[in-house]
């Protein structure tokens, strides 16, 4: 068996198996995130939410998926056909690609590379292409405006996300995601770096185009923004990609600030629960915050969004970075 796993075919088979073992739960989580979002929003607005298909509406996501598959895929006559079809695939693919480096437990990552943080940052910064290409290829004013907004927004908030990540890396001394989590064994980073945690969470909302920063798809002014012209499965891919990105950003928040797979206290009842379950629970907590924010806040105005990114988050995160570096240097806590 071990001999087989060392051959190229064996390595390939093992990687495929690992990928499936990770992606199938992620996709199921995406399906149930759409259900959870409707349930949470409904509860916060004193409604019932989906409750007809299956017990507690639990089969609703599958009914929705089936409906999407049955619809006709419409390509607008003025559209650039190839790019129009490629954009949703790109969005979905990038959302899946990033999961390769996420450590679910100590040593449980498909690719435990030593620039894992940078890889995630690179993949998340590519997410904007799906949106821009969709907006341009649709050959529609609304879609194009949505794409332009999204490009400006994502590029702006990446800057502050970058500074937050650098601050965390200063405290870790490694770019490897497993090392980042191991450094938090005794103290989760959201306690000493609380302001950065808040900035990261808000920037993650902007990066995933979620409310209150969902201007690229603001239905009151742009109909549906960059995916106005999409229908059927191509629309579903955008939708799945957006939710997979939400889960990914929550996973990144968990890894950077909430101690990854570690239990809150290293003692009896907490240590009974295995690491991956803690990891999933923490992701679910962050996702609940995503939904809570959507139920609570109205959409930002565009100039306020830009002001927040460039004039508040950028100077503040830069200042905090310098403070952290200075503090670590003076106290001699700087990791070697």
């Amino acid at each position: 068996m071990t001999d087989f796993l060392n051959t190229p075919v064996g390595v390939l088979a093992l990687t495929v198996a690992q990928t499936l073992a990770l992606l199938v739960p992620v996709l199921i989580a995406v399906a149930y995130l759409t259900w959870a979002e409707r349930k949470v929003l409904a509860a916060m607005q004193m409604r019932k939410g989906p409750n007809v298909v299956g017990p507690f509406g639990l089969l609703q996501p599958f009914a929705d998926a089936l409906k999407m598959l049955m619809k006709e895929t419409i390509i607008p006559s003025g559209a650039s056909r190839l790019l129009f079809m490629a954009a949703p695939m790109l969005t979905f693919m990038l959302a899946m690609l990033a999961w390769a480096v996420i450590p679910v437990n100590d040593g449980w990552a498909i690719a435990d590379i030593n620039v894992g943080v940078l890889y995630l940052f690179a993949i998340s910064s590519l997410g904007v292409y799906g949106i821009i290409i969709a907006g341009w290829a649709s050959n529609s004013k609304y879609a194009f405006l949505g794409a332009l907004r999204s490009a400006a927004q994502m590029v702006s908030y990446e800057v502050s996300i970058g500074f937050v990540i650098v601050t965390v890396l200063l405290c870790v001394g490694s770019l490897n995601l497993t090392e980042v989590v191991r450094a938090q064994e005794n103290l989760w980073f959201f306690i000493p770096l609380f302001p950065m945690f808040v900035i990261f969470f808000i920037s993650a909302l902007a990066e995933t185009n979620r409310a209150p920063f969902d201007l690229p798809e603001g239905e009151s002014e742009l109909v549906a923004g960059f995916f106005v012209e999409y229908s059927s499965m191509s629309f579903a891919l955008f939708f799945l990609g957006e939710y997979a990105n939400m889960i990914l950003m929550s996973a990144l928040t968990t890894i950077l600030f909430l101690g990854g797979w570690y239990p809150p206290l290293h003692m009896e009842p907490f240590t009974w629960i295995p690491g991956p379950v803690w990891f999933a629970l923490k992701i679910a907590l962050v996702l609940f915050f995503f939904l809570w924010v959507r139920a609570t806040f109205p959409r930002y105005r565009y100039d306020q969004l830009m002001r927040l990114g460039w004039k508040v988050f950028l100077p503040f995160s830069l200042l905090w970075l310098v403070l952290t570096a200075g503090f670590l240097k003076i106290t001699g806590l700087l990791p070697a």
């Binding site: 690179a122 910064s125 904007v128 821009i132 590029v155 990446e158």
Partner: protein, 231 residues
């Protein structure tokens, strides 16, 4: 074997997409090919063992620079026939410049002398046990810190220049938001929390009530006109 195969695939795609950047008719397609070229260059860096440079190439060039590129090119109003006309006129000139550059490169490479131990250094650019990122950081921030700072300063000057060129005073009548002043206002309204199912009564609204209409508006007299269609 697999590494060599990967190298040739990435290199071939890189060269092909670089050619397409220049030859494709639609400028948006050109930028997309440029992005593909960046991507393959990053893959080549990875194969060479420079994973930090590969990731930085993707983050900076693909994730930020090319986005802005695409942003601008998409908004250009381009006349394609005029573009092709220009291509015909400038093609010989471009070919001459390209040819000279190529010749110069050949001359440089032909006259290049490698130090006897350079080959071994090239095969293992990073010493054992030191990661790529660490080695690069040591080089940039310790050995060449002043050059690095100078490069940063030059970029800063360029940025300030761009801001100075585009910043102009807003006309006096433009109304701007002062968020601090807006938040500091005291509200004349207050929040009500009525019991569920009760709703808010007229009395619980603190806003002054709208004045009662003095008299009922007179019903409009029917004047027999405006029924159009029948005569």
């Amino acid at each position: 074997m697999i590494a060599a195969l990967a190298f040739y695939v990435f290199a071939a795609v890189l060269v092909a997409s670089a050619v397409m950047v220049v030859t494709s008719r639609n400028p948006v397609h050109s930028v997309l090919y440029l992005i593909l070229a960046f991507f393959n260059a990053a893959a080549l860096f990875l194969l060479a063992g420079a994973e930090f440079l590969a990731m930085i190439l993707v983050i900076v060039y693909v994730g930020a620079v090319a986005v802005l590129f695409l942003f601008v090119v998409m908004m250009l109003d381009i006349d394609f026939s005029q573009l092709r006309e220009g291509f015909q006129r400038y093609a010989p000139f471009g070919a001459v410049v390209g040819g000279i550059l190529f010749l110069e490169l050949l001359l440089v490479l032909g006259a290049w002398n490698f130090a006897p131990d350079a080959g071994d250094l090239r095969l293992a650019p990073v010493p054992e046990g030191v990661s790529n990122t660490e080695a690069l950081g040591r080089l940039i921030y310790t050995d060449y810190i002043f050059l690095f700072q100078a490069a940063g300063l030059i970029l800063l000057v360029a940025m300030i220049g761009a801001i100075v060129l585009t910043l102009r005073d807003k006309p006096a009548h433009s109304r701007r938001q002062d968020i601090g002043a807006q938040i500091a206002r005291t509200s004349i309204l207050s929040m009500q929390s009525p019991a569920p199912g009760q709703g808010i009564t007229r009395e619980s609204i603190l806003r002054p009530l709208p004045p009662e209409p003095k008299e009922k508006p007179k019903p409009v007299a029917h004047d027999g006109h405006g029924h159009g269609g029948h005569h």
